[in-house]
Subunit: 480 residues, 4 copies
């Protein structure tokens, strides 16, 4: 996979007789945020009920009978990418644990930067961990708090963790929703009749015909019980919203961070057309993630938009252990060119971002075989130079093509007539929001939430030192 990947999507429903089914449908809408495992935990006020498994949501819940066990009018759910290595199965969420105050389930989207240090501390006190996940840390911190209410115990725990986290908890009586003070990952609240809904993106609300109410605030903790909703800020907001959610992760039909993803993407395309015009016959996209920015580019440039690549609907279903022979057809499996559109044309190929560049290179090869005359790549984001420690599943720095190559080198590597990236200023202009509120670390290396020692070491270790020393020194200073 040649894109960063979001690590998770989360969903919660409180107060609806079909809570588990609505959670399922919400996860279905959030499937793009995690395709390797899924789970739902429900509660009827007296106990928690769990169904989890590996695979797509529709694979895990492949028979409606699975809902028979998920009783109760509240439920939370999770879709995830498995982390590399480790005991994959035991990392499937929501995690459910037994505490002195009863069972507690947790669904987490994000990544902690002080996980290792907290784990060492807890283990030295005799804590036992079942998994390698950051998420389990949070429940240990909650279990160790002696505050009188679950909300306060959760707040105690959240004050000790650092990094990106959008969280939904479910106890027998309460659903608790929280977001880190930086607002790295999206999380919104909605309503469906009397029921309250929380979801990573509004597309999950849309599918279940719930109305969007507002985003969960950065630093906010919301506690829902049968007797009502209470909210307070457990920490002062300090916004660093992930700009990559707008560029690539979130669905275009979602609102995230309070704005329409679709509009931002069209704007990215339009500004890109202004910053990097070209004389060409047609604009095509890499479907489906670049569709909207490609249409923006076409509209602003006046060049005709065409569908030049057909995306196989069944991709994602590939098997375990393909042979090298099968693997060699991989780029063909995903996209097939439309020769009638491409032959003898000068083509603008709009791509949302370039990470390692290897898939794009194969795609260029596919286009060339279809007889295109010229290929002009326009990227609707700046060069990706730095890994993410705030909840994206990212290649190491060594693998990022723009970390070690300037755009001209990348153009040459890809073998195209021209290549232009959107500027950082152009990107932020498209967000129509205060640019200071966004985390752009993957483009700039400016990690505004302090990293752990081992993460800083990883950055240094993964560097091509000849090229990167000066830049690293400058940045590492700011990380202390």
């Amino acid at each position: 996979m040649d894109k960063p990947r979001d690590k998770c999507g989360i969903m919660g429903v409180f107060g609806h007789p079909q809570a588990a089914e609505l959670t399922y449908l919400g996860l279905y809408a959030l499937q793009h945020r995690g395709q390797e495992a899924a789970g739902i935990v429900s509660s009827d006020g007296t106990a928690l009920f769990t169904v989890r498994g590996q695979g797509l949501v529709a694979d895990v819940f492949n028979d409606h009978s699975k809902f028979a066990t998920l009783v109760g009018n509240r439920a939370i759910g999770h879709v995830r990418y498995s982390t590399a290595g480790g005991s994959i199965a035991s990392n499937v969420q929501p995690i459910v644990v037994q505490t002195k105050d009863g069972p507690l389930a947790i669904a987490h989207n994000g990544n902690l930067v002080n996980a290792r240090e907290l784990r060492t501390e807890l283990e030295s006190e005799g804590a036992i961990f079942q998994t390698q996940s950051d998420t389990e840390l949070i429940v240990h911190l909650i279990a160790r708090s002696h505050a009188p209410t679950l909300t306060e115990r959760v707040a105690d725990a959240l004050k000790r963790i650092r990094g990106a986290f959008s969280l939904i908890f479910l106890s027998k009586e309460e659903m608790i929703i929280a977001r880190d003070p930086h607002g790295f990952r999206p999380l919104c609240l909605g309503g469906k009749g009397d029921a309250i809904v929380a979801a990573s993106e509004t597309c999950a609300l849309d599918l279940i015909e719930a109305s969007y109410v507002r985003d969960v605030e950065p630093g906010e903790i919301v506690c829902i019980t049968a007797s009502g909703v209470e909210s307070h800020l457990y920490a002062a907001p300090d916004l660093h919203m992930c700009v990559f959610e707008l560029i690539y992760f979130a669905r275009p039909d979602s609102k995230v961070f309070g704005g329409s993803v679709d509009r931002t993407r069209r704007k990215l395309g339009k500004i890109l057309a202004e910053e990097a015009p070209v004389d060409a016959d047609i604009v095509i996209s890499v479907p489906d993630s670049s569709n909207t920015s490609a249409i923006g580019y076409a509209q602003a440039s006046g060049i005709k938009f065409e569908i030049g690549l057909i995306r196989n609907h069944y991709v994602g279903r590939t098997f375990i252990n393909p042979s090298p022979f099968m693997r060699s057809f991989h780029s063909r499996i995903k996209y097939n060119p439309v020769e009638g559109v491409l032959k003898d044309r000068r083509v603008v190929l709009v791509e949302d971002s370039i990470v390692r560049g290897t898939t794009l290179k194969k795609l260029v090869g596919v286009l060339k075989k279809s007889g295109v005359k010229e290929i002009h790549i326009r990227v609707a984001s700046p060069p990706v130079k730095w890994p993410c420690f705030y909840g994206m599943d990212f290649p190491t720095r060594k693998e990022l093509i723009a970390a070690w190559n300037d755009p001209e080198q990348i153009r040459e590597f890809l073998g195209v007539q021209s290549l232009r990236y959107l500027s950082e200023a152009g990107m932020l202009a498209a967000t129509r929001d205060d640019p200071g509120k966004f985390c752009t670390a993957c483009f700039t290396g400016n990690y505004q939430v302090p990293l752990a020692a081992e993460e800083r070491q990883e950055l240094v270790a993964s560097g091509n030192e000849q090229w990167a020393r000066s830049e690293l020194e400058r940045l590492l200073g700011s990380l202390e």
Copy 2:
């Protein structure tokens, strides 16, 4: 499902060391032609080897180890929709049978109109059938022929069957490829190095980087052995190619019936724009099947093309026995509207065809909730009034909305500002071919290959007699 469905896709590879893997990849490209079962049979010259199962190709071959049993340098494959009722599992193709001349596998795309009469005849002679499928009939006819070569025995059998059939056979030594004299379903030949490839559509050749050579001719039988290729016509061609392949079934990146599907579809959209213009703000498609005709419409009309509906990539994965509650979200699961694009706009919604109209009505409801100002539906084909007996999986006549309603009634049913269909002449003009060569029975009721008695009865029985008597009488005359 509110679209007709193609019943099958077929694929064959002769003379390549990875024949089974190439067949798998070809089926992957043909997955849109059948999503409920898949199978591959290979041969190493001494025996046949089979792997079949229910589900998507990637589900049936979910571990590469399955290829370990598919040895040999030739293979044929099949994807299919299961027919309603009956023993589903036993209908999975390719069928493999033991005959006096050794094992024989067969992959079939199409439908026979004289199946019942042939079956009765064979059963009265003591033949035993394992399945309800037309395909098994063909092998019985072959087994009963005493002609000296397999090709001649196949030709004997084909002369007795009537209807639509694109076929690939595999014996231990030979691959035989044949197409009915009417050319109802597409079937093409390609080459990959020394290997010969046959496939329902050229997109399967593209994926495995095989070159397109030519279509199998209507009435042609091609026999491939280690010593070479032989071809002859076993029947005189009498062309009635399925125009619905161009409108909806085939992938836009395929060439079928010798022409580019993409071009035809764009042309359908352009002619539709000329025939049925409208004053509106944006053109949107029902993704992905109407994308190309919508772009054609936008280009010819000068109205801006936008992406107004997001198609969930994971659709198709729904579970067994959904509850009525879950079912009520069905249209939402597939498409979500992009509110930023639609709100307060006058929208042209381009759809490739309308069959029962029920899904489209739900989609209209979804659009309205997004705040569209006006909806103008433009359909890139004429009204569908008649069922298909030539290989499409079609609703009965009773369910076809245009069989019993004129466009104004349909517009009212859908609740939109305007509704216009493409004319029959416009449709045929877009094919850029001799219009007489196409079967348009589903639009016109003009069944050019004689139907069986029970099929004619079905037509009569399914009619709304008040409305349809006169038309039926006119047509039934021509069916005798």
Copy 3:
């Protein structure tokens, strides 16, 4: 496995609302007759319903929901050993086929000696076979008969086949039960209220609390419909009942061939004690198949019966592809010696039969490690020298230790103090029936039902010619 194995067990129930469940229970009781596949077909008078699979009965029907599909008040069932090689799955019975007269299911216990010749004949007439099984031949013969009733068509078919067959057929309206004229395999009739039951052994009747009525007669065909039972002889009886059913196959709690298996086995042990006495401390059996004859030996000899070997209840559950290391513990997995019983004792080990002798040799090794002083093997049947062509799954002649070795050589091979077989006369005396009615071919080579040419060739080819020529010549004469 170092024992011959029966190839199948069959069961049928007509006229009970829980027909399929009773059939399941009957197969459970008949599990010892076939452990690799199981299936049930039921009928409600309008259609047949099938559930089949590989594994034990309880594995195939591992969820009670499987019975939801097996509707109707009549059902037939089958347990089987898969034959070596071939498409195992497609050989699972009951077989169900479509004929001109509707669907027909068949469950078969036995083996035909003229299968190959009939198959060649049918194939040359265009018949297509799905499997390699003898059973499929029978349905082809039925389908080709033009007799007016199913019973007559079945009789037509049975007259053409030669060998061992106990059969139960199920059509939508009728259950037909038949047995070959020689009565090789057992088949009995019983009643449970108004329902009629057929089963390979009476232990299946016992489990479902049905009463035993009588055996199906050799050469008899019984037709059961809603309006009653009809029976007639389609061939004159010529009895050759399999004596090995009494010695080893059938359960001791069954009646077969009209007599109690338990009594015959105790008698075998008693006669063995008279024919081959020995001075020893204890008598032990190879559990559980030799338990009854060992008790008979102990009672007649006055030597104390003890349990010297504990049989692991979970044997039979071993996994696919054991490593050679695991395999080396195989005999230990099945039996563990009871040291307190065996140490320093002179032991009579009663075994029902010796086929290849390899497992018995390992068992002797196990006993010796437990410190036995002497081992005296007493075999409750004569030396097994010839393979079976009448429905036992038997090693080839080459593998039969007694075919090429006299008892003294076998004693030496096993490394025991003494070894004595029961005499042929003693065996027949224990049956308390007319000795002429039994098939003893596996002991005597006297194949009273003519073998096929290839079976005769197999006998010759498998022979150690130096030793066997004279005996073969004598016998082959009688086979013509």
Copy 4:
């Protein structure tokens, strides 16, 4: 199930290249100690590797490929009954946890009486539990110890727990074996070449051809590393060995508590014959658990031993959710009577123990239908009146037939001619050991290791107060 059940069997191998395979074989021999789940954890000195699942050992390890992941020359394994209710899957052992000192696996046979009180204490300190099992408590206690070596940390933990426990631990470098000071459950040590083996019963050593060395001592902790074996007593022995292991649980071919089970059982039968003679024709057993005591009875009484009941080898394989109709045949499924043996006979039926009596009553019904003349039940243990809190899976007191009925009432309930139990003195005489060393609480109510408060309450609550008050008062005094 109408017998108490042992909760678990455990196995460990240190220093053999096929450690996991030997552990598998050992578990196979110990299968009777737990049939609902199985697992193995291995170590290669650098990491732990785990395979666990529900079902029989041979089901969990149903393909030899599962051993590919179980690398290393040491392994521990576990078979278990699932406890009633709760999350069954998460209770499968060995449990593996991450501690500050690395991963630790634990296999436990037994039951703690102070579990609830320890759990409450740990939870109040913030400990999080994954399961409801006692076993998890032990690892929490170990993780909280700050002693310098694992052995010392284990000893710290063991000093805090009370009840029955035979334990095997595996860390990356060490295998630690321990047994409670009372020696409730058996645990022995053996050798196979240089490898050291531990197992619940010696039959596991026999199967892998390991030699028996000695029992693990009550209160002993044994630590095995690559550099050798160290042993010490962490607590003073105070023997209360479970007498039910000798009567029913352990396999007759095992040595447990230093003596042969087979001999004890034969002795039980002989003493029973002396204490409770009867004039009868034959002695039969309830196979297989009563076989040895029945033979003892027959030998001492001089009455002929016969096999009157055939046990179905395939029992245990029954399906999920049997219908009430199927359930009604349950006793028939397990045992079938041998009519030839039973009819018109006066039968002594030897049974090892009676718990609820319901299954035995059905068995009596089965015997009666076979035409027995008289039934005399002889039970090779005293009346079972009290539940077990030391590691047996036992019915509640309410369900124990002898808790509320005297032998004459039970005889009447069962409907037999006579019923006699073995005396407590007779039982202890058969053990040939110091009677004071045994726990006989299930017969006497004399719980020598103090119970928890809730267990005492359970005893009171489950009582039939009219009958039991006086006895309870007497006993509850001694429990304080």
